[in-house]
Symmetry: C2
Subunit: 721 residues, 2 copies
């Protein structure tokens, strides 16, 4: 058995802290297992009890004498380390640690957490939690949480909050025929982490969709890698909270993880196929829709309404979500006209405008016609369906029921999703129960119904595109060159954290990046000689391992032509730099030809707290500095992402040329972004890279200034991927 | 009786198209009035019936012989004009026209609509609709719509969709103890419009809040004016849909109005005190909260949770809504520590972390302490309250009930709002029923509970600020000057739609705007002489009534110093302009001194379709043209709005100086915006004004180029306000 199988499909459970006190978790857990008729063996452990709920009690885990797959530890945090040791000796598969008081409570807690992780490793067992509400395996009848009446189904749920789990379970019970395969309260992720659970659920035959509530990720990149592998097979739906300052404060205090959703996370989640949800209200419905319905085969939806207001609101919301609401083709229009009275508005949205008041069967007539249309990928019905029998005439309810049966068959035949909004969703209407039986979700909220068809479209779009996306895996030192390595080794040897400008230039040039030519001149004469070689006006820039911001020390002079200008500039730079930065070692000046004017862009990389290396693109000057008009991607990237990211900035029209300017060489920018992606992949020592400015012209591109900073203490950034 | 009183508090109703056919509106309406025990008189009108539902029927409205306050017209559109004539003769107060087929169906419909409006004016009566679901006056027991079981209460509802009305009514019935005072389906707004209903509800003693569903406004400015008067007395809550292209298409087809929410509308609604809602799910809850609870006296909220997830989500959402979640002061913290166990997280959010599992009374203990704190304006409780008796132990339900009673008293004493999110909102929990009885709203959605405390904060903020806002009323020609009028008259006389540049400059200067000096030179010699006067380098720009874009015809030359440069430039401009625009009348060149460099900004005005004159501000160049980094306000504006609008653009930090640049003269920009606001108010002929560029320096500001365009056919833009 795989280690996680021993946890999620445990054939035997020991409860440490088992109790005869009804108020204690150690009682409730056993009681729940018995009530649910858990099919494995139950071993209560408590040195002071003989029997608990009729089951013989053991003094110690070591006394059981039979294999124990999983241990629920319901005792306080200080008792945990010796228990884990004992579990290790007893060859337990995994432990679930309820107690808080670890990583989430500061330095001392973090130490305690590290200690139990170590002990678990030594004992060859895995930890769920600590600081978790527990786990549930529905198909195994193993409920170690104590939430009752959890509906069984095909959604696996991973959360960092027990209340949110209860929230989703309550919603499933009230509003759905779908339920859960597993629940995991991931707690502090001390040992087992989000990505490992993901991998398990990816391979689990009972799971069709995975829903996550995340406050912070311990290993963001591995999460992305695993999500990328999982999402083509099973949709992942994620609410990430803790984005505000106060939200972070609140999250920190109960999971001990670094919280926050950033622009970086947003695009990375999208590339990994994760369906990101902003509102808690939408989380379960989105998961339910993705679990039970096929995704849209195209991005086009028909809206069928029995009143204008809902139709207009739905059209607005779907447009916001990027779903198309195409005009209908002539044959579909003709077919609709055949079944509908003249006062219906036969566009898209189709507004039945009261004609269903006498015959709600028109919904099925229209659904059949609309889903028969190849151009329509799915159907959203908004309004009163399910309530005609309540609102107008009781007899209509039989027509509604027939309509539901017909819709079930239409869904099955067309294999295109149908989602229904009904004002009467909470009324006990049999026709709506029938729809749910046929796996057509029904929501009382227009907003949520729209979101659900929206995520089916989004997921469908992803399935058609994901092969073009990166898998977030670095192939470290893939393309590293010995000469490049030598440059970095020299800096390490000299205990520098930054490369000198000409070294950065050389490293970039080695990998084919178009860096402006430049020669290091240590004397005025060398500077003049270098300028002569270039045969045009030059720029001089100070070179010093101690000076990062050259302009600040008067270290840059431009547009120098004559011998005198060059020698004067050299002297002035050295004098000024020495004066402004007394202790700086000054190696000389970099002499470069003046660059041909073009559009200034900026390319940079840095290390994101959650996801590691990321790349940034923007236009030079105030657009980056003041307006923050930039785009980000987690590295490595592919060409398609590079293309998308340069067109994502608000000032993108400038790249295509405005006011009579020619367009710039966008493919050259894309190639440079790819080169930088490869560079970061080749030299894991690089912490930050800053190309500013890069001059891009109608044809061609030149890096004018490059800055490369290495990791502190020359550590490498690596993930195992 | 006021005309609208005769409609909304009608003491007699005639139904034209009264019927004995149960399926007909003309039957249902009478049936509903009888069932609801409408206290006025009912007069069915149908030439072919003797009695309907036992009431004698009249052949014609003229036969009734008693005063009729309101007439429900339930017959098709083509029958409406003669009916309105007859109603006029019978001195009816108002008619409600159900039929569609008017303005919403194209040109012919629009004509029919104009005709009935005319007839109504002649007959001295008002029209509700056409194309409306009808009206309901709950306190008068007059339901002309046919939706049953509408809960009575203090919210007036104005919608452009019958289904949305049904939606809100259903929600009120399911989830609230609040209800409605009135309902109006405004339909096509042919005669009675949103602002007139608003005014009526403002003065109605039964109404405490007004909820609107708007697809398009016929008279946007009057709506703003009336909203501004209403909102300090009664909150207005508005969902405006139809913002997307397809949404507009859908809205157009069922209300015949121009739909869309724009950036202009967003800020204008905010200034008028309207609480704008984006999601239908939030519309009724926001209205309910504002109707029953006091607004926040400050913008600061405490969050009380029994689990981390909901707390984190609430903190995120409130931060998004601009509500502060302040850290608690020491005395409040000390008081909380006294009542709470040590494992509770006593920050803000306060996470009770399971300590309520044994005693939900802690919610009231904490609520009392928190609302006693002057720094806390309101309380949001999130989590499981109301479900402890269900989830943990049945005995807890009595503690919960006691807690609800205590919370009701705490609310009454503190006069600060409390809103409760409960996972068990839909469970028939008596403690939650009690909360609602005490006018503490309970929502099952965390998102919605947050939004509700958010709108109470927003409305509270508005009440403290509204006196600083404009009332959207123009005082036309207030400050017009005879010399200014003369400039416009001359343009009219010459049948020009645009002012010449020097005319625009003169008009601006007359009102104190700092326009760059300039002199019209009709010959080279005049140009040279003018330049001499300025005593510095000059610019020449072509002056022609036929040339708006001067650069495009080679009509601008800069930085001219010598006599030769000036004469050459003059010749070159005239030659080029004549060549590029053969038929243009060319009057000469405007000679201006070169302007001192500064930061380029742009100020413009235009006529918005819904709201009339609006003003725009942005930074020159690509920021306006490409990045669209601009801010808008409906005119007229006050200084506070002018200040806010210049700091609203993304590039605003540039105004404060970056990279060692000094800050620019922001007050000079504000003054110029005020001058332009006054100018538009003084000369209603102005259609568009474009100051581009305006050069603003560390001290002072100069308009370098001004363009003023008049209305087509020299019509004035005016509202009656």
């Amino acid at each position: 058995m795989e280690p996680l199988d021993r946890i999620f499909r445990a054939r035997s459970i020991a409860i440490i802290g088992a109790s005869n006190d009804e108020k204690k978790r150690g009682y409730q857990a056993i009681n729940t297992l018995l009530e649910d008729r858990y099919e494995g063996r139950i071993y209560p452990v408590n040195p002071n009890e003989e029997r608990i709920l009729g089951i013989p009690c053991y003094k110690d885990i070591g006394d059981i004498g039979e294999p124990v797959d999983i241990v629920l530890i319901a005792t306080p945090s200080r008792t945990v380390p010796p228990i884990i040791k004992a579990c290790g000796r007893a060859r337990v598969g995994g432990v679930v640690i309820i107690a808080g008081g670890f990583g989430e409570v500061g330095e001392e807690g973090r130490k305690a957490e590290a200690e139990i992780v170590n002990l678990a490793k030594q004992g060859g067992l895995r930890i769920v939690g600590p600081n978790t509400s527990g786990i549930i395996s529905l198909h195994n009848k193993m409920n170690l949480v104590g939430i009752r009446d959890v509906p069984k189904g095909n959604i696996a749920m991973l959360t960092q909050s027990g209340n949110i789990a209860l929230h989703l379970i309550t919603e499933a019970r009230l509003r759905s025929q779908e339920g859960f395969s597993f629940y995991v309260g991931v707690g502090n992720e001390a040992d087992l982490r989000f990505h490992e659970y993901l991998e398990y659920f990816k391979n689990d035959p009972q799971t069709r969709a995975i829903v996550l509530y995340v406050e912070g990720l311990r290993e963001g990149r591995k999460f992305l890698q695993e999500a990328y592998k999982t999402s083509p097979e099973k949709p992942i739906i994620c609410l990430k909270s803790g984005r505000s300052k106060t939200g972070k404060r609140s999250a920190g205090s109960h999971t001990g993880a670094l919280a926050g959703i950033s622009e970086v996370a947003r695009t990375a989640f999208e590339r990994a196929g994760i369906v990101t949800i902003e509102n808690l209200d939408e989380l379960f419905p989105a998961a339910e829709s993705l679990a039970i319905l096929p995704p849209l085969r195209n991005n086009r939806v028909a809206i069928l309404a029995d009143g204008g207001g809902h139709a207009t609101i739905a059209a607005d919301l779907l447009s916001d979500l990027g779903v198309e609401i195409p005009e209908l083709n002539n044959s579909t229009l003709a077919n609709l006209k055949r079944v509908l009275p003249p006062n219906a508005s036969i566009g898209n949205p189709i507004d039945l405008a009261g004609s269903t008041d006498a015959n709600p069967g028109l919904f099925a007539d229209c659904a059949e016609i609309l889903l028969h249309d190849k151009n329509i990928g799915g159907l959203l019905i908004v309004g009163l369906f399910g309530g005609y029998g309540i609102r107008f005439s009781e007899k209509l309810k039989f027509i509604e029921e027939d309509t539901s049966h017909r819709m079930g068959k239409i869904l099955k035949k067309a294999q295109k999703p149908i989602i229904v909004h009904s004002l009467y969703s909470l009324a006990a209407s049999h026709s709506l129960e029938l729809l749910r039986y046929y796996r057509i979700p029904v929501y009382e909220s227009t907003d949520i119904a729209c979101k659900c068809i929206g995520v089916l479209a989004q997921y469908g779009n992803y399935l058609r595109m994901y092969k073009q996306k990166t898998n977030f895996v670095f192939h470290w030192e893939n393309h590293a060159k010995p000469e490049g390595r030598a440059i970095l080794e020299k800096a390490k040897h000299e205990k520098r954290r930054s490369l000198l400008e000409h070294e950065a230039g050389e490293l970039l040039r080695l990998h084919g990046a178009p860096v402006l030519e430049g020669e290091l001149a240590t004397t005025e004469d060398e500077a003049v000689a270098a300028a002569k070689k270039f045969g045009q006006a030059v720029a001089l820039k100070v070179v010093s391992p101690d000076i990062l911001h050259k302009s600040d020390v008067g270290g840059v002079k431009l547009n120098l032509r004559t011998k005198k200008e060059i020698t004067d500039a050299f002297k002035a730079i050295i004098t000024s730099a020495k004066k402004k930065k007394r202790d700086a070692t000054i190696l000389g000046c970099l002499v470069s030809p003046m660059v041909k004017k073009g559009l200034e862009v900026i390319i940079g990389t840095k290390i994101d707290d959650q996801f590691g290396p990321v790349i940034m693109f923007g236009l030079g000057g105030i657009l980056v500095e003041i307006v923050k008009d930039v785009s980000f991607r987690v590295l490595p990237i592919r060409r398609a992402a590079a293309r998308k990211m340069i067109m994502e900035i608000k000032a993108a029209p400038l790249l295509d040329g405005v006011r009579g300017e020619p367009p710039v060489d966008k493919e050259a920018i894309v190639s440079l972004l790819m080169t930088i992606s490869g560079l970061i992949e080749s030299y894991p020592e690089i912490h930050e890279l800053d190309l500013n400015p890069v001059m891009v012209r109608e044809s061609g591109i030149t890096i004018v200034d490059a800055r490369i900073i290495l990791h502190e203490n020359h550590r490498h950034f690596k993930t195992e991927g």
